[in-house]
């Protein structure tokens, strides 16, 4: 196996050389239709309007407080017990990861400076040390072992437990080296360690704080949490003893919780806040406002109708294919998403290395849809319930889908429930489909296995004990499992191209658009890097004087 593993090792070592530290500014102005020079995210058709003020020659200046407005509190700040997708806006500044995910989801240095795939089940990391946590506790290599074991301990009730269950044990070789022994090949390991599961903490503050650790987190990241008033604000300040001198540049970060996106935008326009996520309806105003820097880039998420393929009539692939072919996705993009984003050609977006440029979105074909329905034994059409959670985007989208499907005889009855009720009812197999998007993950396996494998945690058919996968699903399952069993990214890319084609053609989900992330900033904010996961790395920013 030597030769094969040597190439992997070399590739991963090469990646390790590119430290993520010291965010490089995204020179979006250079963007257009092509990728920037490795410093930012790939461009989408929409990024032509992106406008930032930083120039390449501008040197970072230290000092100042960055004011941010976000729409909700984190669900917690303990990497084990917090569970929200937005928690990372804080977690990435407070904690440091074993490795980081760079803007394109390639592994980059974190606490580990280098790593080596010793063999399929053994990954060795060389870590930096000689630094402390926010409370003065010195970092020890054993903390990496402790962090993983804490996630794995059922008593912790860690939401990241599932992500680390392929790790058999973590061996501390010496103060500079730690080795991960795996139960199975885990292609997504680096992406996982760059996420919540790889955020390192020490047993000392965790034990002292107990359950309160989620409100008083202690990490070794560039910023430390000073205060958190729920529904109001979170204040972070510079960690003076951060392991890299002169970093971070900001003295403090003040995040205000402002639920309404229009009010957030008003705060940005009036200079009461420096950074927000721009709501869809404010995009046009943000692009036109000369006092606002506007950045938009491809996200990992997608909009879709989630299908439960264990529920009739959607057990029949032809019915699903008819539903997919009956849709005019361009009209949906235009009417519902104001032409922001792009049509989905598969679950992997432009933000991911697994995006397949050659795969085309499913085209509208009403005749094909009718033929498929007839072939499936429904010449007079088919009727069933369509579950949604009402909202300013979902409700008109559901109506639009309903009317487009009606053209070929697919008659759906829209059932609107609250998000919690809808989730529970859908899980309980009471509806065949549910209008709910997916936010995406750093590694394709984390998106594709969980959503499209018959045992995936987000695949609601997996909750149906009576479900027996059809042959095409069995085939898909095998491909998905195979794709997670190699570390070779090029090999995986080929496999995911095939998997995505199958998912779209066999309509395992009915996808509409790939999401776009949009941030608005005041003119003095510098150093913004758009990461594919859409999470903010606030500590990387600085303020022009």
């Amino acid at each position: 196996m030597g030769k094969h593993h040597f190439s992997r090792r070399r590739a991963l070592r090469g990646l390790a050389g590119g430290a993520a530290f010291g965010s490089i500014a995204w020179l979006a102005a250079c963007g257009g239709g092509s990728e920037s020079d490795g410093q930012g995210a790939a461009a989408t058709p929409g990024t032509a309007d992106t406008r930032v003020t930083q120039t390449a020659s501008e040197a970072p200046t230290s000092g100042g407080t960055l004011r941010v407005a976000l729409d909700g509190d984190p669900t917690g700040l303990d990497p084990s017990t917090s569970r929200g997708g937005n928690d990372h806006h804080w977690l990435y500044s407070i904690f440091e990861n074993v490795v980081n995910n760079d803007p394109k989801f390639q592994p980059a240095a974190g606490i580990a400076e280098q790593w080596e795939v010793v063999n399929d089940l053994t990954i060795a990391f060389t870590v930096s040390n000689g630094f402390t946590y926010h409370d003065g506790t010195p970092f020890k290599t054993e903390d990496i072992k402790y962090t993983i074991e804490r996630h794995q301990d059922p008593a912790t009730k860690s939401y990241a437990a599932g992500q680390v269950n392929s790790i058999e044990r973590v061996e501390v070789v010496d103060p500079k080296r730690v080795v991960f022994h795996l139960k199975a090949i885990t292609a997504s390991l680096f992406a996982i360690l760059g996420d919540r599961a790889g955020m390192i903490f020490s047993p000392t503050p965790v034990t002292q704080a107990g359950e309160g650790f989620t409100n008083r987190p202690i990490g070794s990241g560039p910023m430390k949490l000073d205060s958190w008033a729920t529904d109001a604000s979170l204040h972070m300040s510079k960690f003076a003893n951060y392991r890299k001198a002169g970093y971070p540049y900001l003295d403090a970060i003040d995040v205000q919780i402002v639920p309404n996106s229009s009010v957030q935008f008003a705060n940005l326009r009036t200079g009461n806040t420096d950074l927000i996520f721009v709501g869809q309806k404010d995009v046009s105003a943000a692009k036109q406002d000369s006092a606002v820097q506007f950045v938009q880039w491809p996200g990992t998420g997608y909009t879709q109708v989630n299908i439960n393929i264990s529920q009739p009539p959607l057990t029949d692939m032809r019915v699903r294919q008819a539903m997919s072919a009956a849709l005019n996705r361009k009209a949906i993009l235009q009417a519902i998403y104001f032409n922001e984003g792009e049509l989905a050609n598969g679950p992997m977006t432009r933000a991911s290395w697994a995006f397949d440029e050659s795969l085309k979105p499913i085209e509208e074909d009403l005749k094909k849809a009718k033929d498929l329905l007839t072939a499936a034994g429904h010449p007079d059409g088919v009727s069933f319930d369509f579950l949604i959670t009402p909202g300013e985007e979902n409700t008109p989208l559901a109506e639009m889908l309903k009317s487009q499907w009606a053209r070929v005889g697919i008659n759906v009855t829209i059932v609107a429930l609250s998000a919690e009720a809808a989730g529970a009812e859908y899980r309980a197999q009471k509806f065949p489909m549910f209008l709910t998007g997916f936010s995406g993950r750093a590694d394709p396996d984390l998106t594709i296995y969980e959503n499209f494998h018959s045992k995936g945690g987000f695949n609601r058919a997996s909750f149906n004990t009576a479900y027996t996968p059809e042959p095409s699903q069995v085939d898909l399952d095998a491909k998905i499992v195979k794709a997670r069993q190699t570390y070779d990214q090029a090999e995986r890319k080929t496999m995911y191209d095939d998997i995505q084609r199958q998912i779209m053609e066999n309509a395992h989900g009915i996808l509409f658009t790939h999401n776009t992330n949009r941030v608005g900033m005041t003119k003095q904010v510098r150093g913004f890097t758009p990461y594919g996961d859409g999470k903010l790395r606030l500590h990387e920013l600085w303020l022009a004087s």
Binding site: A69, T75, G76, R83, G84, G85, P154, K157, S158, Y159, A161, G162, E211, G212, T214, N215, A229, T230, D231, A232, Q256, I257, V258, P259, N260, S262, V263, A266, N267, R269, T270, N272, L417, S418, A419, E420, A421, G423, A424, E425, R427, T436, F438, S439, E450, G457, F458
Partner: protein
């Protein structure tokens, strides 16, 4: 008087008890599951962790047992712990109540400051353009949804004129001037919403009093019109107005739900919204109990004020 007070306070106990039973039952009747609400749709956990969470939250107990456990603890002053944040509910309420009280009181004062003069002037200048204008102003306050009005005020006073902050909150005792700057827009939005019924009530009540004999007598005695209106007519017209004011004071607690959401104010309203969405039953219970207590107290104060305004009304027997 003391006996009356004690009786009223004792009467409040069964009301609060009934409210708590109703809220507990209704929350549990909602479809959905607090554990799944806690996890969201995009968290994959093992069934063992899910079961442990359910056990820890006491959700495996029968509903009557869950309620009795809550009640027993509540009688000891322990309203439980938030499912979402693990913060003790009492602490959450203690943090949020002063915020909402500041907003509600400011809104109430603004509502009164607009409605009473407007209603009195409309009555005195009956059928004049002032009367019609007062009606338009008062009814506009009711007709416009408060979230929309709030957004319009933000657009006008924060974005276009840049004279007030768009959102946020500063405690009165931390920085009184800043606090007022932040309170003006939400308090005016909420206050305007109560002007409709209050102005109309003041106007009709004043019209009725102004036609009574004692006002005619006062005029025939040569008293100045302003003295007649302020000292004689207004005092007598205030009883029905006071009733409306009392009801609205209680209702303001509900009104803050929308306003706090729009203006990003960390009060009881925001807590109510987030706890309902998360099916955070202990917090919902705490918020609703406190809101019910606020309504009861507002009603009690109104009843006591009747006696101040009209010496013929006396309590105690």
């Amino acid at each position: 008087m003391t006996g009356y007070l004690i009786r009223r306070l004792l009467n409040a106990i069964p009301v609060l008890l009934l409210v708590s039973i109703a809220v507990f039952s209704l929350t549990n009747l909602l479809s959905g599951d607090p554990v799944h609400a806690l996890l969201g749709e995009e968290v994959v956990i093992t069934p063992e962790v899910e079961e442990q969470l359910r056990e820890d939250l006491g959700l495996n107990d029968p509903l009557p047992v869950q309620y009795l456990t809550w009640l027993t603890n509540a009688l000891r002053g322990d309203l439980g712990e938030s499912i979402q944040t693990h913060q003790p509910v009492v602490d959450a309420l203690r943090e949020r109540l002063p915020v909402t009280l500041q907003l509600a009181l400011a809104a109430w004062l603004i509502g009164v400051a607009i409605s009473l003069p407007l209603g009195v002037i409309a009555a005195v200048k009956r059928n004049s353009w002032i009367d019609h204008a007062a009606t338009v102003v008062a009814l506009s306050g009711v007709a416009m949804p408060s979230f929309w009005m709030g957004l319009m005020f933000i657009l006008i006073f924060a974005v276009w004129m840049n004279v007030l902050p768009p959102s946020g909150f500063v405690n009165l005792w931390d920085d009184p001037m800043q606090s007022l700057r932040y309170l003006i827009l939400p308090a005016v939005t909420l206050g305007l919403h109560m002007t409709g019924s209050l102005t109309r009530q003041t106007r009709s009540s004043m019209l009725e009093v102004l036609n009574q004999d004692f006002v005619r007598t006062a005029r025939s005695k040569g008293l100045k019109e302003r003295r007649i209106i302020v000292l004689h007519a207004m005092r007598n017209a205030m009883l029905p107005v006071l009733t409306v004011l009392g009801i609205q004071a209680g209702g303001l607690v509900g009104g803050t739900v929308v306003i706090e959401q729009v203006f990003a104010i960390p009060g009881m309203g925001r807590l109510a919204v987030s706890s309902v969405f998360a099916q955070d039953i202990p917090v919902i219970q705490g918020v609703v109990l406190l809101a019910a207590a606020a309504v009861l107290i507002a009603n009690l104060l109104t009843d006591l004020l009747y006696g101040v305004l009209d010496p013929r009304i006396r309590y105690g027997r």
